[in-house]
């Protein structure tokens, strides 16, 4: 699966969590721009894990700050 497809699929997942409809680009941050709290993060990560049948451990999550980081990390698991 290429990066653009991963991006598109995560975009569909994030929609219900993006309560304010914030415009998302590569540099959008989850804690800052999207105002995700820890509970939202857990549900969002679980939805991505189920969609791609992967695990994103807390250790990996700690490295993910922006939308671009997330798409990169998930793309890597698909190759």
């Amino acid at each position: 699966m290429d990066r653009a497809e991963v991006d598109a699929r995560i975009r569909a997942i994030v929609e219900p969590f993006n309560k304010k409809g914030t415009e998302i680009d590569e540099d959008t941050t989850f804690a800052g721009d999207l105002e995700f709290d820890s509970l939202t993060v857990m549900d969002f990560v679980a939805a991505i894990e189920d969609e791609f049948d992967i695990i994103i451990s807390m250790n990996q999550q700690a490295e993910i700050e922006t939308w671009g980081n997330l798409v990169d990390a998930v793309t890597e698991t698909q190759n």
Partner: protein
């Protein structure tokens, strides 16, 4: 406030100096100040001037019923427990001044471990200086680099800190969600070591885990299982061994973590296990090695208390009656509780927000009742809770008195 008064208090930013490391706490400081400026009594600064019994104390000058301790079995003033502690204090002195692996293991520590092995019917027991350290030490030591820890998202801070201290990959799942746990275990790379960490009773809402189903799933994936039974020891299960005993799956638990700071009525923590290599933990577990052992009087009181808890079935029955009556009574008054049915000795009352939670806490204190105020981030789903924990020494009449206090305070604050 005029600028003239404001100005001198403001720290001058001097070139070349770092910023105040405490500035990260500013939001919390402001929240506390906001709460206390309304004249609210500080919920996190209560002083017990005198302790009259396991269920009563003089708090901030008032005679108060205690409904917010973890003294579930009321062992703190047990005659035999006190006598054992006094004797050990006289015979062995006030402290060991050393680590368990150097000069800090006395016969009392071994006797305490023997009592635990008998209590749980397990081959090995290791006593730590606190339950916090038991979780910290066991989890961080057994799950290493390349291993996976799969744990419930509502786990106690000591479990999270044990995960943070080690090098394993940490994978949380939604509270008590068997399917979510199953899926995550199934995705762990082949060959990696797996540790599943669960609790018997979750102390914020007082709900229990479906351990039998969860442990079966963990075993299907070849994981080892650690269960923290801090809030069930002495009370739940036929012999008071906890939720795993009650659900008939204790034999499948690889490690039970517990504490002396709740039903046992003193301080300390432990891990019991049947793992054939368990004793090596004493040499490799840093929170066991690099801290002083418990004082002789503490292990003597713990061992005596643990042995008495083996025969505590009458007390267990009375504590269940108390929990059921309080749960039913509060539900009848219109309070929203953390569980539909009473599942443990903890009954959590859900407050609409922190302000009214704190007001209710204070109204109860003025009535002469102490409960625990729990607030985010320690609580699930950012709830504010008034956590009530019952004691086997609360009389049936006291529970009725408590319900009356809740009714008056709840009406005064406008919650029911």
């Amino acid at each position: 406030m005029s600028e003239g008064i404001d100005e001198p208090d403001r720290p001058e930013a001097r070139a070349g100096e770092g910023r105040d490391l405490f500035s990260k706490f500013d939001d919390l400081i402001a929240m506390r100040e906001g709460l206390l400026s309304t004249g609210q009594e500080d919920p996190f600064n209560l002083v017990m001037e005198k302790v009259l019994s396991p269920t009563r104390a003089i708090c901030n000058g008032r005679d108060t019923i205690l409904l917010g301790t973890y003294n579930y079995m009321g062992m703190t003033f047990d005659e035999d427990v006190i006598a054992a502690g006094k004797q050990a204090l006289e015979d062995y002195g006030s402290g060991t001044t050393g680590s368990r692996v150097l000069n800090g293991t006395y016969s009392g520590h071994k006797a305490c471990e023997e009592a635990l092995k008998e209590f749980y019917g397990m081959g090995h027991a290791m006593v730590f200086s606190t339950g916090y350290q038991a979780n910290l030490g066991i989890i961080s030591t057994i799950a290493g680099k390349g291993d996976y820890i799969v744990l419930d998202i509502d786990s106690h801070a000591s479990i999270w800190d044990g995960c943070a201290m080690g090098n394993a990959e940490v994978v949380p799942f939604k509270h008590n969600d068997i399917e979510a746990m199953d899926k995550r275990l199934g995705r762990i790379p082949e060959g990696a070591g797996k540790l599943v960490v669960l609790e018997g009773v979750y102390s914020m809402l007082g709900d229990i885990a479906p351990l039998k189903e969860m442990i079966a799933v963990a075993k299907k994936h070849g994981a080892m299982v650690l269960v923290d039974e801090a809030h069930s020891m002495g009370f739940i299960g036929e012999h008071g061994r906890g939720v795993a005993e009650d659900q008939g799956c204790l034999d499948d638990v690889d490690f039970v973590i517990g504490t002396f700071s709740k039903s046992v009525g003193t301080v300390g923590g432990f891990c019991v296990s049947n793992h054939p290599k368990f004793e090596i933990m004493r040499l490799v577990c840093r929170p066991y090695v690099f801290t002083a052992s418990l004082p002789p009087s503490v292990v003597a009181t713990a061992a005596t208390s643990i042995r008495k808890l083996m025969h505590g079935s009458n007390k267990r029955a009375h504590l269940w009656e108390n929990s059921k009556r309080l749960h039913q009574g509060l539900t009848g008054l219109g309070f929203e509780l953390g569980t539909k049915e009473p599942q443990s000795a903890i009954v959590a009352v859900i407050m609409p927000d922190l302000e009214r939670g704190a007001a209710m806490w204070e109204a109860l204190l003025k009535e002469g009742l102490y409960v625990n105020l729990a607030r985010p981030p320690a609580t699930p789903a950012n709830m504010t809770l008034l956590r009530c924990s019952l004691c086997a020494e609360h009389s049936a009449e006291e529970v009725e008195t408590i319900l009356g206090m809740f009714e008056r305070a709840g009406k005064a604050v406008g919650i029911v």
